[in-house]
Symmetry: C2
Subunit: 239 residues, 2 copies
């Protein structure tokens, strides 16, 4: 049945637009997010949006999953109980930065989408809208977002676990040192190209990576020494 | 000097907002992007935006890097030569989805930022704006975006290379099979929870991963068999 019917499908191709999504990291703490639907999918998406510090989330539905009810009681989100077939979608959508469509009624989803797509909001709707969410790793100062452009969320989650496991303690330490170096070098080295060269040299130096075996303060001191001699050399060269 | 002066800094901390950026993948093909500055940074950012299929990019500057001039001649971007100290920034920014500020004049950047931040555009400006770009991997159907919230682009690029290397051929094959399965299962299994269970079972089955050693069509056939028996079992259980 499944096998026979689908074997005529021929070669498997990925959607044409798979690479044409632009990844960006946005501060949505002050933005308005509207969610249509109150089920498990809504719950999952709301959770991810809350993680980014957004506190202006409105959820529209007839029923709400328990977790959403709890968040409403905690004052984390607004839950607006309504029959979306008779709601003024235009008005609800107006001024929203993101609109998420995930009711369990396909026809209703389509109705909402046909209105929302002409608004100025970004629309998240299965693999149809113009905005995809992703599997996200927040670890040791890194944020890593993994998408398959909606074609396989399960596969994105699987890659998430694998990728999280390749970020090790030394990376976390090096990121902290690079962040500090990048900020403080500005006081010592005027030329941005020279600053970039120094940062890259630290990143490519086995000596600096070895320094990370020590505690962070000792590592920092050793790497500062390394940077010091590099600055000295640059100054000699420019004299 | 560098070492002595900076050793008083004490413990290294990451910026407080490091985790509060929301990663999203957006179709910007029909959106307007405004870039202030025509140097190497602008060139790099323009290249990344072009990769996402955006063809409505305006670059404002007195001078333009060679690569930008070439893209202008190819009709890929607009280059508008002007003295931004005397330009009507408000008007330029109006209606832009993204505004990127990267002239080599810090005071000018600040002037532009003080206007752009009150617009409805997303603003990319060093570590100050409300939108960060990232290091991006586009490989085998995956899009992976890596950010350090602007604190260390060099470290993000380093992680990019490492992460790209953990995506292997089998992952690419499995993604294509999952994408195909997910689309076609809809015709055979009505319950979305059951469909999700099947997709996850395939992903967790060593038999299905072993099938990927074959060419993609044979792998697809073996995995379709596996799915077939799973559907049969589910039907028996529900009878």
């Amino acid at each position: 049945m499944f096998r026979q019917e689908s074997s005529a499908e021929g070669f498997l191709t990925l959607p044409a637009n798979i690479y044409e999504m632009f990844p960006m990291f946005v501060d949505i703490s002050a933005k308005r997010v509207v969610v249509f639907g109150g089920g498990n999918v809504a719950e999952r998406k709301v959770r991810q949006i809350l993680e980014s510090g957004c506190r202006n989330i409105e959820v529209y539905s007839l029923d709400f999953a328990d977790e959403l009810k709890k968040r409403y009681r905690n004052g984390e989100i607004e839950c607006i109980k309504c029959d979306l077939w008779h709601a003024d979608i235009d008005k609800i959508v107006e001024g929203a930065f993101i609109v998420i469509i995930c009711t369990d009624d396909d026809a209703l989803n389509e109705r909402i989408y046909e209105i929302a797509r002409f608004s100025s909001s970004l629309v998240n709707y299965g693999d149809k809208g113009d905005m995809f969410m992703s599997s996200v790793i927040r670890k040791d100062g890194f944020i890593i977002a993994i998408s398959t452009s909606g074609s396989s969320p399960a596969m994105a989650r699987r890659m998430k676990r694998r990728i999280a496991s390749v970020i090790c303690d030394d990376d976390a330490k090096m990121l902290r040192i690079q962040t500090w170096l990048r900020a403080h070098l500005r006081n010592f080295v005027h030329d941005p190209n020279q600053r970039r060269e120094i940062l890259n040299n630290v990143l490519n130096s086995s000596e600096c990576w070895e320094a990370l075996d020590d505690d962070i303060e000792s590592a920092k001191a050793r790497i500062a020494n390394f940077v010091d001699s590099m600055i000295e050399m640059m100054q000699k060269c420019s004299q």
